[in-house]
Symmetry: C2
Subunit: 299 residues, 2 copies
């Protein structure tokens, strides 16, 4: 029987009706992220958006993303790494009459400092299905980017990078905002200059000021400065990695973002596989299948 | 004869009446930074604040800081490094009837990317006078920190770090702002944890997310998170330096900031000399003296 998958994020949500064999039968988007939902209002929003899909008796639903956080619908405590799809399935939390289940995020720890993700874990298991890769580095660009190590079909661990948020902060609220056009389209050459600058060192706190002076001395246009800053930030992110080039690299995310990471990785002679939103539904399907094999009372 | 020195910044200004021998006879502060002055209004604000001091015939005045930028009173083009006090004196720009002179900032270049300062150059030459040091690393913490290499009384070059601005951006506008109290007083031990974290690598984009998760998992209070983030940023700044510990290190700035840098440098077994606002007036005096020995038509 088909099931429903919902990726419920901070500012928006997406839902899909997925057949038993994994085909996506229907898809919906809504600007109803958890920040827009009043306390106690999650069930009503869910019914409004997916009530018709759920009207079929016994139909199950998997919800992932920030809806499982403390500020969301119901808190699903993080599942610690290493974890595979079966581990994740064992940690789902029933929401309503056991027909809706909340997928937990994953947690990791680096020398005592915790790291967390919510929603990306579904995309990772989906990407394994779609690429057939059980080993590699999976990169999920976004506001808080995730670099994930996968081995034998398990998520060994991951690191978060605030690259997307730093770009927004610098482009909108810093002194750079006076000379930069943060929404300008990518200029590949200027972007590569930024990447190269960061990988040479100097540090982000210093290199970012260059995006001010290059504007001040009229060496770059407002559009070029945006590409340069983007390159500086993604270059800084790459600089912090110890990438094993022999492992496959998989990029998962919006095309405008994955294109930038692909360009930056090209400089390291790494050609990544690139996936988009389809990874979420493939992951939900994998998890739905795993759930049917576990002893949890969830769907 | 006594002269007037004005440090005219972005958000505020300070002025002093300084005797021929360098003693500060009187001092004034006003919240009249260049952003508060309408176009064409600089002379009026100056007269309002310092008209009485300038009423003495032949009295001279040196203005430094952002008042010499394109958005200021009159643009004083940057003096390129390396530069000593005499070089700087040769680049001053007369403002009004040659009794007021605008001190230029300094510029440097790192592999084609410009770097600039305005106002700090006066503090650096003042610090040389006050400490008797003609060689060393001079560090000026602030919104845009400057790390300055000095040799034989000349500024060889410098690098800007946006550390203060990053702290404000992250504490006020990022996801960290939900769990952090950016105005909390320093907790030395938590600050040191942040410094140590950054110097171990991992990168600022990743480490900053730790200041989110440590709050999320209630491992640190809002006040501790502020000290931790401050340590992460200052640690990142130190990580990017190739400090020659044999050279003296001089910190110049507000006590609340220099104390943090002194603490971070302690971990590297470096004991800096520490100066405050007095460096500005000592520098203005050194420059005033240098001006009297040059062939410029300025004071």
């Amino acid at each position: 029987m088909a099931f429903v998958a919902v990726d419920w994020g901070t500012s928006s949500l997406r839902g899909a009706l997925i057949a038993d064999d994994g085909r996506v039968l229907d898809e919906r988007h809504a600007p109803r992220g958890i920040l827009s939902v009043p306390a106690g209002g999650f069930a009503a929003v869910f019914d409004e958006l997916f009530g018709d899909w759920m009207a079929v008796p016994e139909r199950r639903c998997l919800v992932s993303g920030m809806a499982g956080s403390r500020q969301g619908w119901i808190e699903a405590p993080y599942c610690p790494c290493p974890a595979d799809a079966a581990d994740l399935a064992r940690h789902v939390i029933p929401v309503v009459a056991k027909r809706i289940a909340m997928v937990p995020g994953l947690s990791d720890s680096h020398d005592g400092v915790p790291d967390v993700m919510r929603g990306e874990e579904v995309q990772i298991f989906g990407a394994m299905q779609l690429t057939g890769l059980a080993d590699g580095v999976f990169v999920l660009p976004g506001t808080h980017n995730k670099w994930v190590r996968v081995q034998g079909g398990r998520v060994l661990g991951f690191r978060t990078f605030m690259t997307g948020e730093f770009y927004a902060l610098l482009g909108q609220h810093s002194i750079l905002s006076r000379t930069i056009d943060p929404d300008a389209p990518l200029e590949a050459e200027t972007f590569a200059q930024g990447v190269s600058r960061s990988t040479q060192g100097g540090g982000l706190l210093h290199n970012a000021f260059g995006a001010r002076t290059l504007g001040l001395f009229e060496r770059m246009s407002a559009a070029q400065l945006a590409s340069y800053l983007s390159g500086l930030l993604i270059g800084e992110e790459l600089r912090s990695q110890t990438l094993d080039a022999s492992a496959g690299v998989v990029l998962i995310g919006a095309p405008a973002l994955t294109a930038r990471y692909a360009l930056a990785l090209e400089g390291l002679r790494i050609t990544p596989r690139v996936l988009g939103a389809e990874a979420t539904w493939a992951g939900a399907h994998a998890l739905h299948t795993a759930l049917q094999g576990t002893d949890t009372s969830c769907p």
